[in-house]
Amino acid sequence: MLKGKDLLGLYGASAEEICEILDRTAQMKALLLRGGKAESVLRGCALVTLFYENSTRTRTSFELAGKYLGAAEVNVSAASSSVQKGETLIDTGRTLDDMKIDFIAIRHPLAGAPKLLAENVHASVINAGDGMNEHPTQALLDMFTMREKFGGIKGLKVAILGDIKHSRVAKSNLFGLTKLGAEVYMYAPRTLMPRDIEKLGAHVCSSMEEAIEGANCIMGLRIQLERQKGGLFPSLSEYSKFYGVKDGMLGRAAKGAIVMHPGPVNRGIELTPSLIDGESSVINEQVTNGLATRMALLSLLREYREKNL
């Protein structure tokens, strides 16, 4: 049983809650692979995806997760909503609440926005990514993918490479993975490594080799091209030369290591095309697992709501 009505991040989640979501994800994935749907699970429920940033995969994933479980599903785009007219997040949330919806999946460019929303609505709020804070469903699907490949999380060495500073994916993975006993190694240009991340349990590496040596999972992170204009690194080619994962590097990783990326990938920058499309890559499976993860989460939140609200 989840401990609250919302999922705002993995920093505040317990290992038990994470495992429960991963277990349910396995059931949902099995259902998906059978070609089945479970439209009774969320029958009578409504899910709103409230996205203040553009997104294709996460949004679609939430929408389909809701649909496959039988929820009514509506999406609200910041660009087309009253948000553009200056309505506050709290007012937007209360308006949605008054329409008796059950779930809001929110993506927002500012850290803490989902928490602010959650404190002001009855609906269950799922953080679909907030600024540089967290992206818990991405980390859950990553962890599910690892668990499926390796049978467990404990003892895995996970290398997370690239723009850690701006990556909510890196942070949610760090919180979740360390709670389940994995070791997380990070490597990035110093300008893209957040202060004191080691105090949150990360091993900060001084070379790509150190990060990858013996790793079970190699996770590239998307580099936003506008970071270069902000002066955080001199050019894409230099970034790729020093911080991109190359074909030969996989040899340093553990046997059977997997290559991951939250997408969308800049081909040839974070990862080489042959790594992206190679045997070790699980990037496409991550997408399927993402759908199963969000179905699992919605079903668990529904159970919480039925019992507690």
Binding site: Y11, T88, L89, I90, H108, L110, A111, G112, A113, K115, L116, D130, G131, M132, N133, E134, R168, K171, P194, R195, D196, I197, K199, L200
Partner: protein, 422 residues
């Protein structure tokens, strides 16, 4: 008007003595034991009498932002907090960058007639950091200092010229120290908690670099300068070493910097958002120590009232600032004296004597013939802070639920009782 304050423990510069105070025609006419009662008597038995508190850094928001605060509500809050004199920053709308606004503020304060309100003019027109404001005319209209508070004058040449020009009118620059390029949109201290929350951090160096620059200008020009709301241990070290070699630098800090660490931001409570940001334990301790050893001369509130709608938004969008004028005395007494090693005369120096001296204001001490600006407080009284009960329009305090000691009982300005606790 003539009355006696009986049996209070009076906080003098050199110690606390039980003595009576005869107040006559707005002055302290006599200080002695057992002054016979004439007319009204204020019984201060069990209470302490401080020189009237002075807050040289507040925001009254009028003209322009009366939804957040106005001169009346701010003055009422000030006297409730024990303050007899306050100095208001120029970031109003329009900015107090000319004598008309300065005169308006003085006029409104006279109408309100509670505490003394001293306007601070801006350094540059519109606080844009480009051209000097009409500093001479504002001085003539009653401005007691100049500041572009809320931001630094980024152009060092303009800052140099401002310091020189203002010195000709005997006005000091009060410097908000933050290098805007380094701050780069940061809203909290850069460190573990900015990483944890994903809120954009602002590095200590952004503040320290500007503190260092103001010290360099002051030293090169041999003109006094005052550093606003110091929040970093490293900035304090810069000031300490400058003072040691005789640079005419003075500095202030605020209760939130010696009470809180940035652990308070992790819940995304926008009442903790302030500029410069609340920093780490090493900084908190350094601020408290510097207020003991005098590296930091005075305690100010940086009273920054905001309406609910300015704060009930995403953290990064929320307004900076803490409504502090009603809690400053209790917070300072509790943390620095009761739990710390500051003496009561030192507390009076930080909250009254030093600001009076820095700005050349009347008051700041209790002496015969001196102005009867007095704050009487019951130091044993204990209460729990509740921002919703503030007189100020700004309810934005990060101290809700904090238990403190020291309640203001009377605030006396020019001999007139302007606040009396219920």
């Amino acid at each position: 008007m003539k009355y006696v304050i009986k049996n209070g423990s009076v906080v003098f510069r050199d110690g606390v003595k039980k003595c009576d105070i005869l107040v006559e025609d707005g002055k302290i006419a006599r200080l002695a034991e057992d002054i016979p009662a004439e007319g009204e008597v204020i019984d201060a038995e069990g209470m302490h009498v401080f020189p009237g508190l002075i807050d040289m850094h507040v925001h009254l928001r009028e003209p322009g932002f009366e939804g957040k605060e106005d001169i009346e509500s701010g003055s009422r809050a000030a006297v409730a907090g024990g303050f007899t004199q306050i100095c208001c920053m120029p970031n109003t709308n329009p900015v107090n960058d000319n004598a008309v606004v300065t005169t308006y503020i003085k006029y409104r304060a006279q109408q309100v007639n509670l505490c003394k309100v001293h306007p601070i003019g801006s350094i540059t027109k519109g606080e844009k950091g480009e051209e000097l404001a009409e500093i001479g005319k504002m001085a003539q209209a009653g401005a007691v200092a100049i500041s572009d508070d809320g931001r630094s004058v980024m152009d060092s040449k303009i800052m140099r010229l401002a310091m020189e020009y203002a010195a000709g009118f005997n006005l000091k620059c009060l410097c908000h120290c933050e290098d805007e390029n380094l701050v780069d949109g940061g809203v909290v201290n850069e460190g573990l908690n900015s990483t944890l929350t994903g809120l954009k951090g602002s590095i200590r160096a952004a503040e320290d670099i500007m503190i260092a620059r103001e010290i360099c200008l002051s030293e090169s020009l041999d003109i006094p300068v005052h550093i606003c709301h110091v929040s970093t241990y490293s900035g304090i070290e810069l000031i300490r070493s400058a003072k040691a070699r005789g640079v005419k630098v003075t500095a202030e800090s605020c209760p939130h910097y010696f009470w809180l660490t940035d652990d308070v931001i992790t819940g995304f409570d926008t009442y903790t958002k302030v500029n410069p940001p609340i920093r780490e334990e090493v900084d908190r301790q350094a601020v408290a120590a510097a207020l003991k050893d005098g590296t930091l001369d005075c305690i100010v509130t940086d009273h920054a009232p905001h309406s609910k709608k300015d704060k009930q938004v995403e953290y990064s969008l929320a307004a900076f600032g803490i409504s502090g004028i009603e809690t400053s005395f209790s917070l300072s007494y509790t943390k620095l004296v009761k739990e710390g090693d500051l003496t009561l005369p030192e507390l009076a120096e930080r909250m009254s004597g030093a600001p009076a001296r820095i700005l050349g204001l009347d008051g700041g001490k209790i002496e015969e013939g001196g102005v009867a600006d007095l704050t009487i407080a019951d130091l044993a009284a204990r209460y729990v802070i509740d921002g919703e009960k503030f007189i100020s329009k700004g309810k934005n305090t990060p101290f809700n639920g904090t238990e403190v000691y020291g309640k203001v009982a009377y605030t006396i300005v020019d001999g007139n009782i302007k606040y009396r606790a219920e």
